[in-house]
Subunit: 416 residues, 2 copies
């Protein structure tokens, strides 16, 4: 069975470009994963007639509408009235919701105002969606033909559990949806989207369920394997052979599955190999250390880092020879190697990684243009040094150089 819905986000602020409507993308993603088809999304201002017209038009195309926002206590909150207009309903007071709100305000030590009372009213005959995290309940209201409008608050902290615990289970039950979409991510680095396409194109074309998609980010690509199945176990059995085949074809580039980041994979590998790490950064300016220290438990393997912006720091804190800097310059293979060795020795770590480059906008030259970055990794036995030329503005060069440093570090640590 299936159900088709459209989404309506309510709020004038969504039309002014002042904020991004993250609710809609979240709801769409959760519904898609739950086997519920989203055919369109809309944003509309705090205008009763326009909200009602948008809902009515959608109900002519699909089985139901899911709204977010506009359930608060102020005069600008008009979603409930608009839903009633669209469905030809009156509101009625829902006593349990009123009691729950009274308790909520009492627990917060705040006084409940008269305009909060209207939040306990729901369209006649609607199912109440309880909201223990806030004041306004949501609801699912119906028209004479059985089409539905599910309305949730716009506050993400209240909306997300309501969607997961009440709205999606209701829809899956009512429309007898047995299957859901289960997803496996394979995260790759150091390989381009077109090369991945080239290597797995036949699988991509042959496979309908599971379906394969390649999503490119900055310097990284994710291969997404999506299986439509009645359970996680059934989906895993469908995904496993395809995952093995793709992993084999992308051998040496897949750094993690599902939720693990490249930095988390590096922290895990360091732990497995009993090694410690130190960083020294010039052009990436602390971003590499930030990425690594974002991982819970990083302190077990990441001892510390140096942001060596000024040459004096390179000389005094890392022991880079003044002659090296004078002869080759700060952005050079020799300096990168000396920095990596310096941080390894100074911090007494197993692996040292260095970045030095020209982030721009100034500081470039014909021989060393903006975007040139040298990387070196010193593990005490051998040193790898490489340079890359990155495009873009200062922020792009810094971001791309950080991803590349992580990719090179992962490659140096990964089992062969």
């Amino acid at each position: 069975m299936s159900v088709r819905v459209e989404l309506v986000a309510v709020g004038t602020e969504l039309l002014l470009g002042q904020l991004t409507d993250t609710n809609t993308v979240y709801v769409a993603q959760q519904l898609a994963a739950s086997g519920i088809d989203v055919l369109g999304t809309h944003a509309v201002g705090d205008n009763r007639a326009r909200i009602a017209a948008t809902i009515r038009a959608a109900l002519e195309r699909v089985d139901g509408v899911i709204t977010t926002g506009g359930l608060g206590p102020t005069v600008d909150d008009l979603t409930k009235e608009a839903v009633c207009d669209a469905l030809g309903l009156e509101t009625e007071l829902h006593e349990p919701s009123l009691r729950q709100m009274q308790e909520f305000f009492a627990a917060m030590g705040r006084e409940m105002r008269e305009n909060n009372r209207k939040q306990a009213e729901i369209p006649r005959g609607a199912r109440v969606l309880e909201n223990p995290r806030g004041t306004a309940p949501g609801f699912i209201a119906f028209d004479a033909a059985g089409k539905f409008v599910a309305s949730m608050p716009g506050v993400p902290r209240e909306m997300k559990p309501m969607l997961a615990e009440l709205v999606i289970p209701y829809l899956r039950e009512r429309f007898a949806i047995r299957e859901a979409i289960y997803t496996r991510f394979l995260h790759t680095i150091n390989i381009g989207e077109s090369e991945i396409d080239h290597r797995i194109d036949d699988l991509f074309r042959a496979s309908e369920n599971p379906k394969i998609a390649v999503l490119a980010h900055e310097g990284q690509c994710d291969v997404k394997i999506m299986a439509k199945a009645a359970s996680r176990e059934e989906a895993e059995a469908m995904i496993a052979p395809l995952e093995r085949e793709i992993a084999a074809r992308l051998d040496g580039f897949v750094y993690a599955r599902d939720d693990e980041s490249i930095a988390a994979a590096i922290v895990r590998l360091l732990g497995e190999r009993g090694k410690t790490l130190g960083t020294v950064e010039s052009c990436t300016g602390g971003r590499l250390a930030s990425a690594l220290t974002a991982v819970p438990g990083a302190s077990a393997v990441f001892m510390g880092g140096v942001v060596a912006y000024d040459n004096a720091v390179k000389i005094h804190e890392l022991g880079v020879a003044e002659g090296t800097l004078a002869e080759h310059g700060a952005v050079s293979e020799a300096t990168a190697r000396a920095m990596a060795r310096g941080v390894r020795e100074r911090l007494g770590v197993g692996v040292g990684i260095a970045t030095t480059g020209i982030a721009g906008p100034s500081g470039g030259s014909p021989e060393k243009p903006v975007g040139l970055v040298w990387f070196a990794i010193d593990d005490g036995e051998q040193v790898q040094a490489r340079s890359f030329q990155f495009r873009g503005d200062r922020d792009a060069v810094q971001r791309r150089a950080t991803v590349m440093a992580l990719g090179l570090l992962w490659r140096a640590l990964a089992p062969r």
Copy 2:
């Protein structure tokens, strides 16, 4: 005069929650600033009938529709056909666009395929929107009543200049829109949204044009002053007295205007005062250095930093006494002070700033819970040390501690 539009973003990927539709929020923001009213936004999949129905429904409510996406060369690109369906038009070949595309492919050294040819077709009678940055031109098509549909490619790099240079000027000219909205931002730090509301509430209520809004971010608030005026000069004259009054009431909290970040304000203040800076970070793990080095020209005042994750780094690289760590612990006022002095002396900088705290999820204790962070700033003459208790997960603690460090640093450098 005025014009009212709705936006339609085309692409099935927008309905799956796989990516956020950044085009719609961008277009909405640019149109609002240009005095063009956006009454609704929609996203719809790559389905000709549904795109056409969405456009037709919108044209019954407003003067025109602006679409993004679906103008590419593949069979999934159906926006042009759907616009023709909605307006009752045929397509026609636009010879200049065909020639321009041929030249584009020749310059790229790529072969132009037959399916690219269809990109040079436009709805009969439409205005062509040239696209020198890509292959597909955009267009503005019309129905018999003069309502319009402006269609732009979905690639932001192509869409943004087309909007600014062609679509907005056309609409302002045709609908005789003389005014635009000019905005001044005052960025504050170290003061909460409710305190700002309290201080400027009367201005907020009294002022219709310019309008005032307060936007809260993490640890920072922006006061936005929006003037509707016929020119930047006229707007500035309207904004200036209000800006002076607000700045006076928020004295000591406003760190910058318009596009300047808190880190950029710090780099500017350091330059004005002829001082250099060094950072030493434990729990913020490089984020403070990253924020500072994101500023172009930071290298003139930011000498470098240390990410002192392990205690050994605090001892050997910064000269923090082992006794201090043993007696007070790594997260303590004494250690923060010793770290700030250590980085100032070791890097030979004018100002040293230190962060040390418990980012979590583990490492907390009843006396020193997760989220406790000590900050110290040492300028050689005096040392300021403060602690804060931040809420949230590891990422939230790291982000909030970084913003706080920047706020404290700004306050220490700002003129009194």
